[in-house]
């Protein structure tokens, strides 16, 4: 059946402390388009199906190629990137909502600062002596590179936190993304030298022990990062570290 329109329902909320409302839009159908182009069309023609002129909806987006992580939102009940959500694959009316585990800013925009704070707490970096010319880095096994690359593609989009029952707007749990980043830095030849600091942080408040093993994260990750493997690996690493600390390794 040929469609002539795209029907959208957008959950609107002017700010964190005001009530939300739903607005419905009907825009002309075009093949091979995504949620972002639909939102752009609404912005160019901001009238609800009732013919009411409304404010342009507010959303977060940047690269539109699913590498920046900005445009995560809940689309027909599922958290994902709006750029790679193709209209032709979605049931209409398409419902757009903001993520629920992060403080709401406005409409579809939330504040994911807690994810960047978690990376800070986990010492998620390779300590280097300086940016001057110190020659080549360590040799790296191509297999280890392939493993590291698959973890390094995490774009801090927040999907894994959104689906995690242990993450709530008030809980301190850092979530799968940050745990997996600890694994990434601990496997690097230089990062390994400072693995202890990260493991200590990972065993602290809101760390690994708050994981409830629901395994939702790995299914929600748009980059297919092996998050549950990372959690398991960090479980083993922290256990080994504790034993070593106890018995003096």
């Amino acid at each position: 059946m040929a469609k002539n329109t795209i029907e959208l329902k957008i959950k609107r909320q002017d700010g964190p402390n005001v009530a939300a409302r739903w607005e419905e839009f009907s825009i002309p159908y075009k093949p091979n388009t995504n949620i972002i182009s639909a939102l752009m069309e609404v912005r160019r023609h901001p009238y609800t199906v009732q013919g009411q002129k409304t404010t342009p909806p507010v959303w977060d987006a940047n690269c539109l190629e699913e590498v920046c992580g900005a445009c995560s939102m809940i689309i027909n009940g599922k958290v994902r990137q709006a750029c790679s959500a193709l209209i032709d694959h979605l049931e209409q009316p398409i419902a757009l909502e903001p993520m629920t585990k992060f403080p709401l800013v406005r409409d579809l925009v939330v504040d994911r600062r807690r994810m960047f704070d978690a990376l800070k707490r986990m010492h998620a970096w390779i300590p280097i002596d300086g940016t001057y010319n110190l020659g080549p880095g360590p040799r790296v096994d191509p297999n280890m590179q392939a493993g590291a690359y698959s973890l390094a593609r995490c774009m801090t989009c927040g999907c894994c936190l959104e689906v995690c029952p242990q993450v709530t707007p008030t809980s301190k749990f850092i979530g799968a993304a940050a745990i997996s980043q600890v694994r990434l830095f601990n496997m690097h030849p230089t990062g390994k030298m400072h693995a202890r600091e990260r493991l200590e942080a990972l065993m602290g408040e809101g760390g690994l022990q708050d994981c409830g093993n629901a395994q939702n994260c790995v299914h929600a990750c748009p980059k297919e990062i092996p998050l549950t493997e990372s959690i398991a690996a960090m479980g083993r690493e922290t256990t080994a570290y504790v034993l070593k600390r106890l018995f003096g390794g």
């Binding site: 539109l64 590498v67 800070k120």
Partner: protein
Amino acid sequence: MAARPKTIVVGGGLAGLMAVIKIAEAGIPVQIFSFVPVKRSHSVCAQGGINASVNTKGEGDSPQIHFYETVKGGDFLANQPLAKGMCEAAPGIVYLLDRMGVPFNRTPEGLLDFRGFGGTLYSRTAFAGATTGQQLLYALDEQVRKYEAEELVEKYEYWEFLSIVKDSEGACRGIAAQDLRTMEIRVFPADAVCLATGGNGVIYGKSTLSMVCTGSAASAVYQQGAIHANGEFIQVHPTAIPGEDKHRLMSESARAEGGRMWVPRDGKPWYFLEEKYPRYKNLVPRDIATREIYHVCRVLKLGVDGKDMVYLDLSHIPAETLNRKLGGILEIYEKFVGDDPRKVPMKVFPSIHYSMGGLWIDYEADGSGNIVAGSPRNHQTNIPGLFAAGEVDYEYHGANRLGANSLLSCFYGGMLAGPAMVSYAKGLERSCDAVPASVFEAERKRQEEACGRISALSGTENPFVLHQELGEVMTDNVAVVRYNDKLQAADNAILAFMDRWKCIDIHDASTWANQAVSFTRQLWNMLELARVITLGALRRDESRGSHYKPDFPERNDGAWLKTTLATWTPSGPEFRYAPVDISLLKPEARKY
């Protein structure tokens, strides 16, 4: 001079973060302002890799050859000392990135792997799958986070740069910026400010660029007296997937790994680049490949299915190799188009991609053309205390950029700009703290009033519709093939848009996270810059690099081997021309 200078970097892509790291490494505090969380900056979109002549494949490559190919690729419009400095620094830069943990692809022996790229016959490009920009940006983001944890770096994310604060002598003494949540406008004093705000492709509506790449910050300082150089040189990338919201890049690395371009002709594949360029084949520089595709589709009418479309074919390459070396872009094609490029040829068409032009910056070189490290002149604009690095500056690439040189120039630019800012700030007689508070207050008020005027716009025009129309005018008239009558018509259209801008209906009275106000402000800045691009192109009656006029098909060194300099006036850009530093390599015919 205060013991600890204050510095500000605007923009958190590769160039901005590298400048931040250099400043923090010198023990000097730095505030960084970014429209988006820095980890989401446009650098993530760079795919293919970063150039460095490490010569690990026994091909006899060297930084000198890299330098020559960069200058030739840019059709001899680049100032040569900076390009030379960049190419010489490149191997050290790639090693440094490797030490920071970038998961570069490896050889079986565990060394850095390198691949070929456009405009060269050497394997010179280090890469991390096909998301090299993302991986490089993340490495710098992580280093900056370390300095943030040490409280040397203070981040202001979701803040929009509005303007610089100029003192009575015209020097830059800080910035005005707006919190995009509370919409509060504040001024921040600084001894040195660096803009690292990226390119301006969003002026063309749809491009390969991210949504933040409007050029608004560059335009704002241009309107405050900063010179804009070579604006007319806009790179159109030969291979992108056309889309409704944007065009998605299909990296040049696809061709470097053996991808072939063709269209059906007389029932058989016609490999039009391989036939015409037997040496470089599919890896001719981007401006050349793009013009060939235009010729095939628009003149010969041989586009796939009669449309503006050609094939980029990887289907003859083993899937395992493709997954390891190009996984990131295959995934983009699969997700956004729905076909598997391991099995069927991809359909692509050229798209606006990169601005070679940008803010004019200075440099200091010695008698042999070597850049003087730590000189405060490096990367400084004509406004004292204002620096620029990354795509927002006009250096390094001349009239056309070679693939995989952009990550390099961003990184190298940041590496020069950071120390230059420190030298400049330390050399100041009077720190920004000694500047009267009234100077800052005046700029804050000016910005608040400007913002108030935008919020009060209550005409009939929609800013997003105006932007779409601007994009169409620019793409149709100021892109690959340029004619003077069309350029003139485009400028007339931009002037009409400027009138219509004044009749915008903001229709959002909110004083909280108001994107309409912010976008409308940027739209005006895009219009100002669109004139710089269009009129610069209109005046330059020759063909050079990305700038091609069929009525003036040859490069004309006698008349046009010079840098375009645009200065803002209330009635539009005023143009002057400056000589290009060609002290190291003599211009020659550009043949591939």
